[in-house]
Amino acid sequence: MTFPITKAGRTAPFNPRDYLVPSARTFESGNYPVKTYKAENGAEHRILYGSKRTNMRLSLTYTNIADIDAELFLDHYDTVQGTFKTFDVGSVNGVSPTRGGWEGNKDALGAQTHGNNYRYEGPPQVQQLALGRSTVTVNLIGVL
């Protein structure tokens, strides 16, 4: 099961209204595995332990989505055994709904470009706001 990118009950061919697009997104680009030491004279020494950037954090908020769509995230969290397995946030028909609204290079927000895959950093947070409507926040982290 891929990360939820289409709404519940929708089948191909998809149109833009079938995608689960976040209403807010935060991306932290992570870092290369660098270890920094301070010498006694105050000079900084840095050791690069790897050639791939990792630990990018992607926080996605889906505001006021239908409960049946909110449930997709809980199901997916269960499918990947919580924070254990990694997954691809995926795309459909060349569209990556999780990056909806981003007009820069698609790779810039991705983890795969740097050999990472996303996993859940913690459980999805579901806040029920009205009858049949919830806001879901998922926090993902890119790992090698």
Binding site: V21, P22, S23, A24, R25, Y62, T63, N64, I65, G100, G101, W102, L129, A130, L131, G132, R133
Partner: protein
């Protein structure tokens, strides 16, 4: 085509039973009004330029103006004057009920479990039942005003509890 004026308007109050009955007609109603608003939440997502909404709730409120009068000198009408409404919120201390310095907030007849009472806003179209909206309400504001050159009247504002019970409009 039938148009209606204030002469076709009526207001009924039922605070003695939860049964599906119109209740007592309030005799001296100067006006009533009803408005419903729908609350929306935004479902706009990244990449969309214009607001997109979905409805999540509804609120119905209304108001009416009832004349205050006495059918006989010294005798306050308890059935259809403004005092019917006023007595639901203007209450004297009721220490007998075990409420210190206070009084019951119940707006219904004490025999009825529900704390709300029932209003029917009716447009008399000449048929048996007419066109009406039945709802259970709480009075949220009541004010009695007296001024020179004007008839004493009470302005009542009410809020519907849940959806209206019956709508035939």
């Amino acid at each position: 085509m039938a148009l209606f004026t204030g002469a076709s308007g009526k207001l009924f109050l039922n605070d003695t039973t939860e049964n599906d009955v119109a209740g007592t007609e309030i005799a001296k109603v100067q006006n009533w009004s009803l408005s419903t608003s729908v609350s929306l939440v935004s479902t706009k997502t990244l990449g969309q330029t214009d607001d997109v909404f979905t409805p999540v709730g509804r609120s119905t409120t209304g108001s009416c103006r009832i004349l205050y009068y006495q059918e006989l000198p010294g005798l306050t009408s308890t059935t259809n004057s403004a005092s019917t409404f006023l007595n639901k919120v203007f209450k004297q201390r009721d220490s007998a009920a075990g409420i210190v310095n206070g009084a019951s907030l119940d707006q219904n007849n004490t025999d009825v479990p529900s704390k709300t009472f029932r209003l029917r806003l009716l447009i008399d179209d000449g048929t048996t039942d007419g066109k009406y909206i039945d709802m259970r309400v709480f009075i949220t504001s009541a004010s009695l005003s007296m001024s020179v050159g004007e008839v004493a009247a009470a302005d009542i504002q009410f809020q519907c509890q849940g959806a209206p019970v019956k709508v035939e409009i």
